[in-house]
Symmetry: C2
Subunit: 164 residues, 2 copies
DNA sequence: GTTGAAAAGCGACCACC
DNA sequence: GGTGGTCGCTTTTCAAC
């Protein structure tokens, strides 16, 4: 584990903070007691650190992750969206509409070949078509879409991985 | 809220289960007591439901989300990866390597124009180039990459949204 | 910033409906 | 499947280092 901090934002995070973030990023159900034991801290110290990380906004929130298949949404897709016009109002309105669409998990507003990448979870191929036709290409601003089926989605090593 | 369940997998999830999932998907820090009050359930009933959802794998896990900018990784990108050959061993090995790369948040294995979409968080443009050159295009199986900068990433309405 | 010890709150379990 | 009560543990708080 690297101890010294290099850049200005990370300077306020020491090795203990990073260890806490690593643990809670893997499993946030862990009790404060267990976390303190693992890091060889007093329970009160550990609780204090965690509260501070939340207060500073470094820990944004805590969420459960739901199994899509168990919910009847076994299929995932990425819909690449290209626009025909790019007025700020039009782009923002579409962004809002995409994010508000049921079964949409994440919306990436990107620079590059595409304008948006829409990650969705659906029950079957027909539901996927429904989203594309009834929620995306209905917007006149959308010039073209291209849908990619997700075979598998894995978590990466993440922001807190040791450098290699 | 729709009460009746239509498809077979969701049949085992009633309106109360869905309400629990909706709440914990937004904020998993909520205490069992608060959750029970919100849903007008007895605390023991509520706890029983939540434990059952976990045991059945419908709730996969609980995680904190960390602010990338606060950690010194303010830039996000999507790297689209196309392969030159598609042997199962080669594809799997690359999948493993991508998921194990520091600063990689998610890896999508997809069908379509591309083979993988790699979502990364980095400190600056040079770090992005480093990932592409030193962790992705180094693999001989990779034919081409195309990088898209992420302007903004929003959560969608999600799997539990009411149908519209 | 860190610690240990008391007080307050919470969740696990039980018999019962 | 849902209810209310008791017990044991965890978290919070606080004075002190």
């Amino acid at each position: 584990m690297r101890i010294e901090q290099t850049d200005e934002t990370a300077r306020q995070l020491d090795a203990v903070d990073l260890a806490i973030l690593r643990a809670l990023t893997r499993n946030a159900e862990m009790s404060n007691k267990a976390l303190a034991q693992q890091l060889r801290l007093a329970e009160s110290t550990c609780a204090h650190r965690v509260r501070s990380l939340r207060a500073r906004g470094i820990i944004r929130d805590t969420r459960v992750r739901v199994d899509g298949a168990a919910l009847g949404l076994p299929l995932q897709g990425i819909i690449r969206v290209r626009l025909g016009s790019h007025t700020p109002e039009g782009v923002h309105a579409l962004f809002d509409a995409l994010a508000a669409t049921p079964k949409v998990l994440q919306v990436f507003h990107v620079a590059g070949v595409d304008d948006f990448l829409v990650h969705v979870a659906v029950e079957d191929a027909e539901a996927l078509r429904d989203i594309v036709l009834r929620h995306i290409t209905v917007h006149p601003i959308v010039r073209a879409t291209e849908t990619q089926l997700v075979f598998e989605l894995r978590d990466g090593a993440g922001m807190l991985a040791e450098q290699d």
